[in-house]
């Protein structure tokens, strides 16, 4: 009997010998880090229909990185930024990211722009274990499930749309809300956030209209939404189609409250619909709107951004997109600092995790934790006023009609 048991055990245990060795993260010396250089990669839209977002983000990023480099770098290492253009095109973003990993062998990635692009590279980033700090997207896919090497800075689309829906419904008293979205991961994310927020209030979108990324063909979506006689339209897209949507809607006599999420790009949208007298356009921001805080002394980071942008990119106007890139850069650099001289990806991520209550200005601070990789929770609301978006400090006493663009900037 003993022999039998032994044999059975041997038969069962025998195959346990050949186990797959897992050495994917075995590299000890971190790539992209040398004696005097830290390589950071960034893939963003520098051309194409979303190029404004990429260019501004990159400028914000560069402004701060250049400043740090000029100050001597981090522990003597200059931060060298490599930026590739993906034209808001996911395959290109993927190819760029792979190039960062394989050819450039960067230490970390930063300032990716766009939901579909970033979501596309997520598996790659997860697999490579490379830190990605600060994405110009509020997609839920970047937040859940939690990924240790993914560091979000800004609030999510869910947070934005939830706030927006609350304000639309509770503050402005609107209930017929439609959604206009980009037919991709970004648009779906915003749609989902909006629907979740509406459901909390016992509502559903009265209509859903969409357009294809990279096109400006919005008429079909517009028709659907117009037919629903929506009082408000939540727009989850890029500035060009969104501006087209507002313009065509108003041309066709459809005049709801338009709400756009932060990704639309406030300044560019404002520029494109500035001629729309009386249009009611709301927009949420996840960083302090620069024009509202600039020079007020209230937000040091805005001022810092303003100064450095002016220094490194003279003639450019501070904007919320660039500010977000700037803040991302600050988080990146702070993480590098906190990682210490012995920089590894692990120590870098630990450094990020250790950032708590990092002040960006009055009432604005960054906080991370081992299980919290989103630094900011703030959502700001602005409304189109003249050629710019102005901060709505308080929705109290505000009616839908008060949102109309009177053509002059209100304070």
């Amino acid at each position: 009997v003993a022999v039998l048991v032994f044999l059975a055990a041997a038969l069962v245990l025998a195959p346990a010998c050949d186990r797959e060795p897992d050495d994917r993260n075995a590299s000890s010396a971190p790539p992209g880090v040398s004696e005097n250089e830290i390589l950071i990669g960034s893939s963003l839209a520098l051309t194409g229909h979303a190029k404004y977002l990429g260019i501004q983000t990159l400028r914000g990023l560069r402004a701060y990185i250049n400043y740090i480099n000029d100050m001597g770098g981090v522990f003597g290492r200059k931060v060298r930024l490599i930026a590739y253009d993906d034209a808001y095109h996911p395959p290109r973003c993927l190819a760029n990211t792979q190039r960062f990993l394989v050819q450039d062998q960067v230490f970390a990635l930063s300032c990716y722009v766009g939901t579909p692009t970033t979501v596309k590279v997520l598996p790659l980033i997860r697999q490579a274990g490379i830190p990605l700090v600060g994405m110009f997207t509020g997609a839920n896919a970047l937040r859940e499930p939690f990924m240790p090497n993914l560091v979000n800075v800004r609030a999510s689309y869910y947070q934005e749309t939830r706030s927006a829906v609350r304000h639309l419904v509770e503050s402005l008293g609107l209930s017929r809300i439609a959604v206009f979205y980009q037919y991709d991961a970004y648009g779906f994310d915003g749609l989902t956030g909006t629907e979740l927020a509406l459901r909390q209030l016992g509502l559903t979108p009265v209509a859903r209209g969409s357009y294809i990324r990279g096109t400006t063909d919005i008429q079909e979506g517009l028709d659907r939404i117009m037919a629903s006689r929506a009082e408000a339209v939540v727009m989850i897209g890029t500035y060009e189609p969104c501006a087209g949507f507002i313009r065509q809607a108003r041309e066709q006599g459809f005049d709801p409250v338009f709400y756009a999420v932060s990704f639309v790009g406030a300044e560019e949208l404002a520029r494109r619909v500035a001629d729309q007298e009386g249009a009611r356009v709301l927009m949420s921001q996840v960083v302090p709107p620069p024009h509202a805080f600039l020079g007020s002394g209230a937000f040091s980071v805005v001022d810092e951004y303003d100064v450095l942008l002016d220094h490194y990119f003279p003639g450019d106007t501070p904007n919320s997109v660039g500010l977000e890139g700037f803040i991302n850069a600050k988080v990146l650099v702070e993480g590098l600092r906190r990682a210490g001289r012995n920089l590894t990806r692990e120590s870098f991520l630990e450094g990020i995790d250790s950032i708590a209550s990092y002040p960006l200005g009055r009432d604005l601070e960054l906080s991370f934790g081992p299980a919290d990789h989103q630094g900011l929770e703030n959502v700001y609301f602005t409304r189109l006023s003249g050629r710019t978006f102005t901060l709505i400090r308080d929705f109290k006493g505000l009616g839908p009609e008060d949102l109309r663009n009177t053509g002059s900037a209100s304070p």
Binding site: D18, P21, D23, A95
Partner: protein
Amino acid sequence: MRLKTMGLRNKIFFSIVGVILFISAAIALLARGILIKSLTEELTQRGVAIAQSLAEQARGPILDKNVPELVALVFDAAELGDRKHLIDYIFITDDHGEMLAHTFIRPYPEDLTRANLLEATRMRAISETTVFDRPVYDIAVPVTEGIYRIGSVHVGFNKGHIDQLVAKLRITFLGFISLIVVIIFLITLKLTSYITRPLRRLTRLADEISRGNFDLPMEMKALSGGYQLQECPAYRNTDMPCWHFDQARGENTPSRTVPENQPQCRECRFYRRPEQGDEMDQLADSFYNMLWSIKLYRRRLGESEEKYRSMFDSGPDPIFVVGTNTMAILDANPRAAEVYGFDNRDQLIGVSFLELDPDFNEEFFTRYEEAVSEFPTYSYSKLVHYTRDKSPFFVNLNACPISYMGRQAVIIAATDVTETMEKEAQLIQASKMKTLGEMSAGVAHEINQPLNAIKIGSDYLNMMTKSGKEIPAQSMLKVTDEMGVQVERATEIINTLRAFGRKADLTQERCNINKSIQDVLTLAGHQLKHADLRMELDLDEGLPPILAHDNRLQQVLFNLVTNAGDAISQRQDTPPGGHVITIRTFARDGQVVVQIADTGVGIPEKARGKVFEPFYTTKETGQGMGLGLSITYGIVKDYGGDIRIISDENQGTTFILTFPAIKEDR
């Protein structure tokens, strides 16, 4: 050696378990090979399918030189579903083998694009290679535009993952086999004890039986269906055969058919037909039957033994068991002790049989040697035995050799025939007296002659004396001599007569048959003297003696001679040479032969077999009892002799008597 001493249970158990383990190991090895091979094949097929589908999709981007599209394509393909575990990498090269797109996230081996070169004509190539120290199956398929190749897609299958799948399968499979082994192990355990339990039980039972314990144990009682032995008719009555056992046994002995009037059991309650159940049950049934049969026949044997024992013990004749080499009596029945004058049987045992029968040894063994291969029963008649106090008596012996307690022995049954012999002697005597009566005329005539001579002599002497004449001395001497001779002659006749009439002793004496013939002729000669009858004697003077009684021989001879005379007198005609009775004696081959031939009527052929039967006679009623030749035959046989007849009707009859001669060298 250990195997031999191992119990059946262990033998079965270990051999089954061994075989199962062997088969399991063989299956496991075989299945392992098949599994790995087929799984690897299946997965590479899948890899080929993936690569081919990718090649289709990659055609456009390759032509457009749209590298990002290709990158997205390969990543999408690699990340789809559970493929990411299986696919280690995918890359696409152009027709020069230059890397266009791949799924590596760190620098890949330079030579990878050349690790699995796809020959120009081949539609697929599979080779094993190593990437980042991981074993990989590189599967390459071409991307074609029309018939020309514009690139190739390589899918790297993670061999480790395949191996993991194989290992998982193997564990499942081995687990299953182990389960089967365990189940079979348990079944075997159960089976072996099921097989061996009844065997052990039967062994125990057989041991009990060999120790003589025939009582059915409880378990066997259960088998018998609760019937009592006494319910079996064959058990109660040993005369009744058990048809179930005897019939089966007696198939080749046709004499054992069931008599019509014999009661039989329609159905035996005890006999179990071993037809139902498995072999073990059948064995138990057979064993039960055997036990039952043993019980039945043991009882029958016991009864038979008792029967023969009582026959032996209470038999009217003495029976001995005598060892052949020592001649010592090994066993004897009470009657033997009684007849031979012993107080009890135990005194007899150990006594040499030769004390009872001094002549037995030689006689017996002579015949024993001669007849050992023939019918092994020997009879001896009228042997002289001696009782304990040496008084003789006559017995008939029957001997038959047996094996007694491992020794060669003979069973000797002795029948006391003394009384019979005395009766016989009386009969012979009576017959003799009759013969004597028949002789009396002749005898009277014979005696008369000397008496007449004496009368003449005495008359002469009387006349001479009365006349006062001087009797001359010469005449006186002559007359007295003559008278003396005549008296002598008369005395001789009388003596012969007396000897004839005397009742014979039981013991035999040496006799010269010539003398007996002479004596008979002395007494009976007158009767045979008529005109045309001659006596011719041809007696061999050197005849050896025989062991017999003289007067009985004379009786035999007288009978035969008077018969011959009668036969002649019955004949009407006279043969040319006149009637003659010829008596010849001679010795031949240790035998003494007497021929008595006549020229009488002869004996008809149909009567020839009957002449020696008692009370058979051809004479008219009142002339004879028909006992003459019968007694003659008995006497001759008594002396170990023989009597034959040669007869031709109307030509005469010849009686040939043969007697064993006494061996002179004795």
